[in-house]
Point group: C2
Chain length 416, copies 2
Amino acid sequence: MAGNAAREKANAEVLKRFAAAEPYVEDVRPAIEVMAGFTRDTILTSGPPLPWPDYTGGQRAAIIGAALFEGLAPDAAEAEALLARGAIRVRGCHDLGAVGSLAGVYSASMPVFVVRNRKHGNLGFCNFYEGTNPRRLNYGVYDDGVRERLRHVQNVVAPVLGEAVRRSGGIALKPIMKRALHMGDELHSRNTAAALLFTREILPQFLALAETRRAETEICAAALTEDHYFFLRLSMAAAKATADAGHAIAGASIVTAMGFSCREFGIRVSGLGDTWFTGPHPKVQAKLSPGHAEDEISWMGGESTICETIGLGGFAQAAAFPLQAYQGGSPEAMVERNLEMYQITAGENPDFHIPYLRYRGTPTGIDIFKVIETGIAPVMNIGIAGRDGGQIGAGVVRAHASCFQSAVTAHHARYP
Amino acid sequence: MAGNAAREKANAEVLKRFAAAEPYVEDVRPAIEVMAGFTRDTILTSGPPLPWPDYTGGQRAAIIGAALFEGLAPDAAEAEALLARGAIRVRGCHDLGAVGSLAGVYSASMPVFVVRNRKHGNLGFCNFYEGTNPRRLNYGVYDDGVRERLRHVQNVVAPVLGEAVRRSGGIALKPIMKRALHMGDELHSRNTAAALLFTREILPQFLALAETRRAETEICAAALTEDHYFFLRLSMAAAKATADAGHAIAGASIVTAMGFSCREFGIRVSGLGDTWFTGPHPKVQAKLSPGHAEDEISWMGGESTICETIGLGGFAQAAAFPLQAYQGGSPEAMVERNLEMYQITAGENPDFHIPYLRYRGTPTGIDIFKVIETGIAPVMNIGIAGRDGGQIGAGVVRAHASCFQSAVTAHHARYP
């Protein structure tokens, strides 16, 4: 009981820090300029880090593509050779304070959002959405079209947005996320309202920039609002800056990161340092785009589940009934799954509310002990990649219990 | 049965026209420049028109305030005298193709949205939201602050928006309304998402205007998105342009307008000409602002119920669970009330869908016969005015059956 009481107290502190977080986007800069430890020959990718030979399929292709995009090698064969002998270094996004979407590759010159948790002082980073074309580097594709779209983001969208963000003095993300939950977003697979609310906040800066650079400003504004995903990268960086504030609390059993690589799923736990507890990939319930089949579904990494970690995404799905059209399922199932998450979380979010549940706070702070005790696995809303790269759908996944079991075992060992 | 079949056929035509409507906002102009029949000495107000002496309370105060705003009289006493002898003419909004919010007063120089139904060719008008201050002319208040805010709308907000709208070549409102229903709006008491979506559409024009007039453009953009109500006036004008397209179909028993004056509630019916069938005010279930009480609730007119007429507002409330916080009630009650409306409507809207109801089309086209047969009265989401003017809350009202009964009787007489 004494052990339990200490754990509860530590978990309450984690929850308090999650709640107190004040994420602001303060800048947009090339990764190498703002991310400590980034070097010209670094490529970041999603999930618990693996030795290079273990990266396969789309994730491997994405890492090679990022190396080519960055000019670290003239062709794929040379990139492979450099990667094999460690001359191009592959690291996990989380180890540099970032989170990756799908394959999640970052190279040195790619623009990233710089989000500061003004309460705790820590930073979270995320790179940019590539646009609506389903062929994207983070979905394991690299060709002329992908490169061109990445360059467009790097040369037009990011510089204008960066200037606007710096002019603004920083934009508070939590109020936007809070309101977006009242407007059909769950801030993982749907960020439609958040993008519009963010545009509203940045609009005075856009108007100022338009005085001298109208065309680029217009392109940037269009990129922000063209579909449901642009804001996800801000939601992810905000979630990372929030989750990290609750990390490394001795004794705590709350999950502070969840992510995939092409090989496995893993979690980090607040009281258990930077160790990843890993297990097999989750089960997926997907809605695929016309012309695609279940057997094409391919795992190529993903850390956008940082959103679920702080009570968004699958943990707020009853705020986002329009997701039916995108990832399948029914409103009733969404409500039921969302309600289940209260059984495995330490508390309810004081800022993020679900209108349909009479403004109940979202279930927040996944407790590894509760996952094992109840047998209820965290539910996550994710984009689905295809064998040949590109996005082929979206769906709902359930983590496998084994990594939670390993974490519980480690917790018992560390806090006997 | 032959009579019924003819009525069904006529009603199907009304519904078809409602569905086919393509409302575009095409301009913003002073009322007198664009509304046929408007004269310098005209004041429009909400509801079935009454002889001047019958206007009381906030609605009377609003009419006098509009006369003063327009400079038709130097003071209230003189305005009253001019109104009494008909030198200032009071007319119903609907008679000039407009709809009024609450008291709904229009004077000649006030800016109005010009919405064209590009399918049918007809126009609908609505004037502007006065801003977040609960003291407003349309809520029966006229003082220096109200005048100043009206002038601000007239001199800054409307001219910039007008220029932007004209530059755009017209903005389609139905796609915005359709999407807003997936984002927590029902487009009567909540228009939050619609305002942001509209801003997105107009943004390229704002950026162009900012090249030479940044400050005013910024003020205009802020007015658009400062709260939940700005877009309502566009929703109302779009609804009017839609409803009118279905008006005057011989034999049809579908309601094409609903509105209040300070004295009564009234409806118009497609097959029964421009006659208003009137009855007592509805029952109200309100949530009042702190410090206000039920006995302050005051009727001073309202025609925003044109939204319910085409399947929005109360007929789409299960799309807008966030309204709980504003007008009270529970999600379960909102769903139940919304479902009831399918029993009194001719069909389901092909464009307006409710995510929570698995994207079912909103109940559309109130059939006076079904209202009487089922005993279910239309439900409407409205703003609530106080005895001393100003908005004191919001609520849900149910029309009284008597005007539907009178309309049914008239329908039997006309189509025996």
